[in-house]
Symmetry: C2
C-alpha cells in the first residue's frame, strides 16, 4: 500500500500529498470557497491512510490555504468572509474601535513595469502591469496612500469600475474575478517623511512622519503576484504585530 519508495522523491508521504493538493489548487480543481473531497476520499485517491491525508491537510490549514469545518468538510480558504476580508491589513485603530473603511480610487493605469519592481515580481523589463493608486480612509479621515502594481497578463480587463465594485478589498476582487488567491505576503517597514504631493493627498503637512509599508504578496506555489506600497498616517492607527 505504501508507495514511498515507488516515487522518485524521498520526502515524507504527507508532504507529497500536500504538494499534490497544492497542484490541484493551482490548477483550479477546487476554487476559493469550494469544498475539497473528504479525507477518506482523498486517502483512497492517493492510496494512503486517512491519517496521512489529515496531516497534509493540517499543514495547509495551518497556512490558511484550507479551512476545516467539523461536520461539513474542508474548504479552500477565501478572502470573501468578514473575518478574513482584511487578513493582511495590520493597521488598527489605536483605541481598538471598529471603523468604517472607505476606498477612494485615484488612478488605474496600464504601464510598462519599472526595473526594480519587475525584478521583485519576476517579470521581464518592460512587461505590462496595472498600476493602482488609491486612498483609504477610516471614519472619513485619510489614513493610507496605497500604490499597487500587478502583472496585466493575469488581470485582463481590469479597470476602475471593477475596483470600485469591490470597495476596498483588492484581494477579494483578485480571487473572485481572476481566481488568483494570495496566500501570504512579506512586508518591510520604514519611517519616512511625507513628500509634498503625498502630504496633500493625506491632508497632512509636508515632512510629516509616515509609516512606509512595502509588501510583496504571493499566490499558490509562492509565486509573487502583487507589489504594494502603503504610506500610513499613524496618529490614530497602529501597525499591530504578534511575534511568536
Amino acid at each position: 500500500m505504501n508507495t514511498v519508495m515507488a516515487t522518485p522523491s524521498f520526502k515524507p508521504l504527507y508532504e507529497q500529498i500536500k504538494e499534490l493538493l497544492t497542484q490541484s489548487l493551482i490548477q483550479g480543481e477546487w476554487g476559493p470557497g469550494e469544498s475539497i473531497p473528504s479525507e477518506m476520499d482523498l486517502a483512497t485517491r492517493y492510496s494512503v491512510s486517512q491519517g496521512t491525508v489529515r496531516k497534509a491537510i493540517d499543514a495547509l490549514a495551518q497556512e490558511n490555504i484550507l479551512v476545516r469545518r467539523q461536520g461539513k468538510g474542508t474548504f479552500v480558504a477565501t478572502h470573501n468572509e468578514e473575518q478574513v476580508k482584511l487578513r493582511f491589513l495590520r493597521l488598527a485603530s489605536a483605541d481598538g474601535d471598529k471603523e468604517l473603511l472607505e476606498n477612494q480610487l485615484l488612478e488605474c493605469n496600464r504601464i510598462p513595469v519599472k526595473a526594480e519592481i519587475g525584478k521583485l515580481l519576476g517579470l521581464k523589463s518592460g512587461t505590462s502591469v496595472i498600476e493602482i493608486k488609491r486612498l483609504l480612509s477610516f471614519n472619513q479621515t485619510p489614513v493610507i496612500y496605497d500604490h499597487v502594481i500587478i502583472p496585466a497578463a493575469h488581470f485582463k480587463g481590469l479597470n476602475a469600475n471593477k475596483i470600485q465594485e469591490y470597495n476596498g478589498s483588492l484581494y477579494r476582487m483578485y480571487e473572485t474575478l481572476y481566481g488568483i488567491r494570495m496566500i501570504r505576503a512579506s512586508e518591510r517597514l520604514t519611517a519616512i517623511s511625507a513628500s509634498i504631493d503625498i502630504a496633500e493627498s493625506l491632508g497632512i503637512k509636508e515632512g510629516y512622519p509616515l509609516l512606509r509599508i512595502e509588501r510583496i504578496a504571493y499566490t499558490y506555489g509562492d509565486k509573487p503576484m502583487e507589489w504594494r506600497l502603503g504610506l500610513c498616517v499613524t496618529d490614530n492607527h497602529h501597525y499591530m504585530n504578534e511575534l511568536e
Copy 2:
C-alpha cells in the same frame, strides 16, 4: 485507560496534557535548554498514548516553547542559541548583510512604575520597576534607542554590570540569570519625529522620521513581563514581517 470523563475539564486530552506540561515549565521542573522526558515516559506518566503526548508537544513546539531533536529528545527552548538569540529583533539590514551588533548602556534605574505602563504589565501603581535605556548600533552606527521596563520583584539584583555581560540580548540574560523565558511578544508600530534628545543620541537631526516600536513581551502562561519602546532609524534597516 482514557480519563477524559474523570477530569472536571472537557477539553481534548492533548490540550490537558499541554497545560500540564506548561505548568511543569512554569514551576521550573525543566529549565531552559534542558531536555524533558521522552514521549513514552510522558505517555506513561499521564496514562495516555504516545500519540496524544506527541500532539501536545507538537503544539508547544509550534509555539517555540519546546524544541524537538530527532534521535536526542525534546528540549525546553532557549534564547541561548545563535539562530534564535535575536528571535524578536525584526530589524534587518536593507541589503541583507550581516552586521556587528553593539550595545551601549545609557541608564539603568530602579523607579516606581508609571500608571500606563503598570497597567500594561499588570502591576499596581507605584510598583518598583527597573528601567533600562540603551543604544543599539549596527557596524558602529547607532540605529535603535531602546527603553525597557521590567518589574523589579522578578529581577532582584539586576544591575548595569549584568546587562553588559550579556551584551545585547536581554532575553538571554532574563533566562539565564532569572529563569524567565519570553515566549511571545506583541508590538505596535508607528512613525514619529525624533525629539531633540533622542535625535542627539542617535546622531540624527531633530524631527527626523523614526520607526517607533512598542512591545509587550510575555512569559509562560501569557504573563506580561516586559515593556519596551524602540526608536529606530530606518535609513539602512527595515522592519521585516511575514504575513501568513
